[in-house]
Every structure is written in structure tokens, then in C-alpha cells.
């Protein structure tokens, strides 16, 4: 390869890649491999949750009335909206529409913030009810107290880790907004927007499963 060939390659193409499509395929597969690890990370908790739900079926039913379906449902809607704005943001980047990209990223970030605020409110509700596992835990039905504590522990572990992932996602969105406003993206290269979009949608998918399992099952009585 002549020196002049080297000088003319696009600046976003890293030296160890041969061309842009190879780099994009590598980035996409890399992000999906990472998301697969996240599936297994949350999957371990879903597994533990499934086992205890079945083992302590009656205690589980008794705890279900303390799950705030309203907040959970609104939060589900909020996250679905944020997935829409994120998908539209990636599309705006693809079309080189800088202003639309920035506004859609801000919208996604805002909706994420709404989710976290509602979650904080929900956790506060749990705190007031003494349902946070640990030394201060108290449960309304003493015969289910031990089992309910395990179930609430899993509730907090699962939603807490999910919230932590959202906070990381928020940080990533802020980074994207800064990068976009500095003209780092164009219709020729917007891979970080694409990849962080995948991450954001994945966090939404985790919630899509958390919501029915934690909030809706057992609400018939």
C-alpha cells in the first residue's frame, strides 16, 4: 500500500481494519456479544427469582399487593417511548441530521430520567413500608416474613441492577450529546450512536420482562 493510499483513508477507520464495513460489522458483533453477556448476567437473577417464586408461592402472592402496578406500568410506557426516541435518534444520525439527533438524544435522556425518578419514588415507598431487605425489614404477615424478605431482596437486586444499567446508559447518552454537538458524527460514520442505541434498547428489553414478572403475576386475587 502506498503512503498516499494511507493518507486518504477516512479518519474514523482504525488502522487495523481494512475498510469501513469490516469495522462496522466488528463493532456491531462486539456490542451484541456484550449484550449476550448481559442476558446471562440478568438471567442468573431471573433463574433465582423463578425458583423462589415457585417454592414460596403463597408468600409471593402475599407480596404482590405491595407492587405498585401504576408506577410500573407508567415506567414501562416511559421506557418504550425512550426506545422510540432512541431509534429515531439513530435514524437522524444515519441521515446526518445533527439537530434532530441531539434533540432526540436529549428526549431519550429525559425519559430515562423520568424512569429513574419514578423508580426512586417507588423505592421510597418501599422504605416507608419497611420492605427494604436487611436489618430494618418488617413484613405485614409474620408467617411469610422470611420468605418475603428473600423475594423483596430479589426485587431490589433485579430492579436495582436494571436502574444501575440505566444510569450508565444516561452517562453514555450525555457523551453522545456532547460528541454530536461537536460534529463528530455524519451520515458516513455514527457507529457510537448505533451501538449505544443497541445498549439502550437492551435495557428496555430487560424491563419488558421485569415488569410482568415482578408487578403483574399474582395480582388476580
Amino acid at each position: 500500500m502506498a503512503d498516499s493510499d494511507i493518507a486518504l483513508h477516512p479518519p474514523e477507520l482504525k488502522h487495523h481494519f481494512d475498510d469501513a464495513p469490516q469495522q462496522l460489522e466488528a463493532s456491531t458483533l462486539g456490542m451484541w456479544a456484550f449484550l449476550a453477556t448481559e442476558v446471562l448476567f440478568f438471567g442468573g437473577m431471573f433463574c433465582a427469582y423463578t425458583i423462589y417464586r415457585h417454592a414460596y408461592h403463597d408468600a409471593f402472592e402475599s407480596t404482590s399487593r405491595f407492587m405498585n402496578v401504576t408506577i410500573g406500568g407508567i415506567n414501562t410506557g416511559v421506557l418504550i417511548c425512550s426506545s422510540l426516541t432512541m431509534a429515531l435518534a439513530v435514524r437522524a444520525a444515519q441521515l446526518g441530521q445533527k439537530k434532530a439527533l441531539i434533540w432526540l438524544l436529549i428526549a431519550t435522556l429525559t425519559l430515562g430520567g423520568v424512569f429513574l425518578a419514578l423508580k426512586a419514588d417507588e423505592y421510597h415507598e418501599k422504605y416507608v413500608e419497611h420492605h427494604i431487605p436487611g436489618p430494618g425489614f418488617q413484613y405485614e404477615e409474620p408467617r411469610f416474613a422470611q420468605q418475603a424478605q428473600i423475594l423483596f431482596f430479589l426485587y431490589f437486586a433485579m430492579t436495582g441492577l436494571h436502574a444501575a444499567h440505566m444510569i450508565v446508559g444516561a452517562g453514555l447518552l450525555i457523551t453522545l450529546i456532547v460528541m454530536a454537538s461537536r460534529n463528530r458524527f455524519s451520515s458516513r460514520w455514527y457507529t457510537p450512536v448505533d451501538m449505544i442505541g443497541l445498549y439502550w434498547h437492551f435495557v428496555d428489553i430487560v424491563w419488558i420482562f421485569l415488569f410482568p414478572l415482578l408487578y403483574l403475576i399474582g395480582h388476580t386475587k
Binding site: 487495523h16 460489522e25 458483533l29 462486539g30 456479544a33 449476550a36 446471562l40 442468573g44 436487611g134 431482596f153
Partner: protein, 542 residues
């Protein structure tokens, strides 16, 4: 560090080692070869930390009443296991030889994600520092398996610190595996079809699959364990309504595939060594490649064989036992194929080949004893005895560590540009082989006779065999020290190596200078022949 491509007319003595100087060029490098060396030094340091614990354990076991307090002994075997498994064996070959060799073997200039590669080393160091901190602050006494509820409730050692160190190191492993998978899929040079990949690459691909898919479950398990230790909500504590067997299921879902992380790269190295030192293509290339992936996949379906006596249902145990028999088949296929490769080959007995012979024999013994353990009726008698310990040391030390040493010697010229002293290397290999067998073969007998593992003391009738084992361990320890000395000496003072001292096939030997330049190749390589084409007309006589 400079990132421009080297001009073809540059002095060919410019290579990755002297392309740039200064600590920043090492600590902020993105060159996979330099990162491999960063890992090499840190992993070697941890090997000796873990080894030091082993020495103390064997000293304790010289006499039936031991010399350490029982709590101290518990900490010794725990830290030996934690350090050796998570900070030595799991990263060993992939992070050193894999990192160094996969790009040149497939004709690439670097891995797919060089900065993530560097990040994985830093994450490993952070995890390592946390583990060392746990050691310095008094160690952990739960066993490397961290079984609850002892680890979650009753142990008063630094469980969280050690467990979080493991958690962090797990991410290093995930990122390495992720990097390898993407690299092998997307960055093969023209002509490097999957069917032409060196088996070293196939083995690391299979390993990387396990690293990516299994390690996250360890992460969540350790995370839940640490939360439980703080909050005592009972998820694994039977006195609070929890199930300790759940911990074991989640723990072994990772830890069984992890043992395949700790052998597949070794097998990957052996394929390269056997082919080169028999001057013959690997017999049944397709079978060996497929077996690597089969071991990785089947290895995910057998974890329950660690729970045979834990209270797991008989039906589940039977399924796990049966599949454990199945997973031995691809390993056996590899051993047969290596043997068939050597048949009618032109064998040379250089040091790497000696290690390969050692691997094949010792891994076979270790693997066969694994089948005994997979048999429930036998397992109930030998589980938690020295039989298990002998089994896994045969495969991990007799197998993996020998393969690691064989690989280090084989690629030493490629990595350093110099030759090691062959006579000392052969001597050390022999000392290691003798020391290893003297250490661990008596342990099969001890286990069969009923000596329990993880006990600081033992019945008088086991005395003689324990003395033999400790004697063997001291020989083995000396055997490991000898290469440290001559390899360090050779790196600085050894004779300069030619481009391909072994006359081996493979892009890393044939088309990449020794040592390689930063981007591995002067001309972009193109592959036109199958792997291990030793019988091709242009092959040089060994």
C-alpha cells in the same frame, strides 16, 4: 505511541519491542503483542503467589498433625485456589499466547478492539490488587468455591474483598473472549477460510465462547453473595429460608465451563506443537476443530456433576452424569488425533515436544479419572477427597501448565527474537515431569483410601504418601524456577533467532518477521494453502 504503518524499506530490525521506548509506550500501548507481555509478567507473578500457598500447604501436610492452625490452613488452600484459578489459569494461555499470536495467525494487524484489550489488562490488575489486598488483610477461608452459607454468613474473613476481586477479574476474561470472537469472525486475511485456521485459533475461539457466555453468571452469583453477606436476607441461607444448593447451581454453571477455559487453550497449543515436531499435518483437522467447539458447548451441560452429593435430584444427577460422559468423547478424539499425527511422522524431541508428550500422557490420566468422578456410584465415595484434587491437578497442571510451558518455549523466539538454551530447557522439563507425578499420583491413592480434602490434619495411615507428595512438590517447585532463570537470561543474552527456527508452518512463522513489527506483517498476507502443509514441496527439512 506511533500508529503509522511501517514503510516496507524500513530497517527490518525495527520490531514491536523497540518501536517505541518509555513506560508510557508500554502502559498505554494498544499493540496486542505488548499487551500480551504485560499479561505474561503479571500472570507469572500470580503463579508464584499461588505457588507459595501450595508450598505452605504441602509443608503443613508433611506431618499428620500439621504445623499451621486449622483456620490458617483453610486460608492457604482457599487463596491457592482463588489465585491459581482466577488469576493464573483462566487468563494464562489466552491472554499471553492468544493475545500475541491470534492476529498474526489469521493475517491481521491487531485484534478487533485494541483499546478494549488494554482495558482488559487493567481490569485484571485491579481484580488482582483486590485479591492481594484480601491476602494481605488475612485471607479468606471459604475455599475457592465460596460455598454459602459459610461464605455468606459464618466466615469472618474478607470474603467480599476477595469475591469482588474475582468479579472484576471476570470482566477482564469476558473482554478478552469477546475480542477474540469478533477478531476471528471479521479479521481473517484473504484466503484464511475457517477450514484453514490453525487449530490454535479454533481452540481459542471455543475458549472465548465459554468466557463470554459463562463468566456473567459467575458475576451475578458473586454479586448476590456479597449482597447477602451484607444484608443477610437469606437467599442462600437455609436458616432464613434460602437454598444453598441454588448458590452451587449458579456457581458451577460458570465454574464447570471455566475448567474448559483452563484446558482448551492448552489443547490448542498442543495441536501446533505436535504438528510441527512430527512434521506432519494434524490428523483429522476437522475432527479436532469440531471437538474444540463440542467441548465448549457440551461443557455447559454438565455442571451438576459437582452437586451429586449436595442434595440435587437423582434425575437431574443422572442427566448430568450422562452428559459428562459425552463431553469426554471430543477430548479423547483429540488425543487419538494427536497420536495419529505422530504416527509415521518425523519426530524431533525439542523441549516443546517434550511438554507435548507430557501433556498427552498426563491429560489422558486426568481425563480418565474425570470419568470415574462422573460416575455417581464412584463419586459418592471419592468426592471431597484427594482423588478429586489429583484429578484436577493432572488436567490443569499436568495438562494446561505443561502446554503453557511448551507454548512459551515454542514461541519464545518469535516473542523475543532470541533462542533459549535447549539443554537447560530439556532438563527443566524432565524435573517438572518427575516432580509433578511424584506430587500428585500419591494423591489418587490417598483419595481412594479416604483422605478428605481441605483438612489441615489427617490420619496416621496416610503419612507416607503425604511425605512423597510433599517431596514431589519441592522437586516440582524447583522445576518451575529453572525456566524463570534461563528464559530471563536468554531474553537478554540468548543467541539471535532466525525468522523460523523450528521451520514451522503458519503465517506467524512464515510471513511475519521474528520478532514481529508493530503491525505484524511487512506485506499484507494472502493464504493459499491448508494449515500444517508440512508435506508441501516447499517445506524445509527439519
Amino acid at each position: 505511541m506511533s500508529t503509522t504503518l511501517p514503510h516496507p524499506d524500513l530497517d527490518v530490525r525495527t520490531n514491536y519491542l523497540n518501536a517505541d521506548y518509555g513506560w508510557k509506550s508500554w502502559l498505554f500501548t494498544t499493540d496486542h503483542k505488548r499487551i500480551a507481555l504485560l499479561y505474561l509478567f503479571s500472570i507469572t507473578a500470580f503463579f508464584f503467589v499461588g505457588g507459595a500457598f501450595a508450598v505452605m500447604m504441602r509443608l503443613n501436610l508433611l506431618s499428620p498433625n500439621g504445623i499451621f492452625a486449622h483456620d490458617t490452613y483453610n486460608k492457604l488452600f482457599t487463596m491457592h485456589g482463588v489465585v491459581m484459578v482466577f488469576f493464573f489459569l483462566v487468563p494464562s494461555i489466552p491472554a499471553t499466547l492468544g493475545n500475541f499470536l491470534i492476529p498474526p495467525m489469521i493475517g491481521a494487524r491487531d485484534l478487533a478492539f485494541p483499546r478494549i484489550n488494554l482495558l482488559s489488562w487493567y481490569i485484571y490488575i485491579v481484580g488482582g490488587v483486590m485479591a492481594l489486598a484480601a491476602i494481605v488483610r488475612g485471607g479468606v477461608d471459604t475455599g475457592w468455591t465460596f460455598y454459602a452459607p459459610f461464605s455468606s454468613t459464618y466466615s469472618n474473613t474478607h470474603v467480599i474483598l476477595a469475591a469482588m476481586g474475582v468479579f472484576v477479574a471476570g470482566f477482564s476474561s469476558i473482554l478478552t473472549g469477546l475480542n477474540f470472537i469478533i477478531t476471528i469472525h471479521t479479521m481473517r486475511c484473504p484466503g484464511m477460510y475457517w477450514s484453514r485456521l490453525p487449530l490454535f485459533v479454533w481452540g481459542h475461539y471455543a475458549t472465548a465462547l465459554i468466557q463470554v457466555l459463562a463468566t456473567p453468571v459467575l458475576a451475578i452469583t458473586v454479586f448476590l453473595l456479597c449482597l447477602e453477606r451484607v444484608l443477610h436476607t437469606g437467599i442462600f441461607d437455609p436458616s432464613l429460608g434460602g437454598d444453598p444448593v441454588l448458590f452451587q447451581h449458579l456457581f458451577w454453571f460458570y465454574s464447570h465451563p471455566a475448567v474448559y477455559i483452563m484446558i482448551l487453550p492448552g489443547m490448542a497449543v498442543i495441536s501446533e506443537l505436535v504438528a510441527c515436531f512430527s512434521r506432519k499435518a494434524i490428523f483429522g483437522y476437522g475432527f479436532v476443530a469440531f471437538s474444540s467447539v463440542a467441548i465448549a458447548v457440551l461443557g455447559f451441560l454438565v455442571w451438576g456433576h459437582h452437586l451429586f452429593v449436595a442434595g440435587q435430584s437423582m434425575y437431574a444427577s443422572m442427566v448430568f452424569s450422562f452428559i459428562s460422559f459425552l463431553v469426554a468423547v471430543p477430548s479423547a478424539i483429540k488425543v487419538f488425533n494427536w497420536t495419529a499425527t505422530m504416527y509415521q511422522g518425523s519426530i524431533s524431541y525439542d523441549t516443546p515436544m517434550l511438554y507435548a508428550f507430557g501433556f498427552i500422557g498426563l491429560f489422558t490420566i486426568g481425563g480418565l479419572t474425570g470419568l470415574f468422578l462422573a460416575t455417581m456410584a464412584i463419586d459418592v465415595h471419592v468426592t471431597d477427597t484427594y482423588f478429586v484434587i489429583a484429578h484436577f491437578h493432572y488436567v490443569m497442571v499436568g495438562g494446561m501448565v505443561m502446554a503453557y510451558l511448551g507454548g512459551i518455549h515454542f514461541w519464545f523466539p518469535k516473542i523475543t527474537g532470541r533462542l533459549y538454551p535447549e539443554a537447560w530447557a530439556k532438563f527443566a522439563a524432565l524435573v517438572i515431569f518427575v516432580g509433578f507425578n511424584l506430587t500428585f499420583f500419591p494423591q489418587f491413592i490417598l483419595g481412594y483410601l479416604g483422605m478428605p480434602r481441605r483438612y489441615a490434619t489427617y490420619a496416621d495411615e496416610f503419612h507416607t504418601l503425604n511425605v512423597m507428595s510433599t517431596a514431589g512438590a519441592s522437586i516440582l517447585g524447583i522445576g518451575y524456577l529453572i525456566p524463570m532463570i534461563y528464559l530471563a537470561w536468554a531474553w537478554r543474552f540468548g543467541p539471535i533467532s532466525p525468522q523460523n527456527p523450528w521451520h514451522a508452518k503458519g503465517l506467524e512463522w512464515e510471513q511475519s518477521p521474528t520478532p514481529p513489527p508493530t503491525f505484524n506483517f511487512i506485506e499484507p498476507p494472502v493464504v493459499t494453502e491448508a494449515a500444517y502443509n508440512y508435506s508441501g514441496e516447499e517445506a524445509e527439512i527439519g
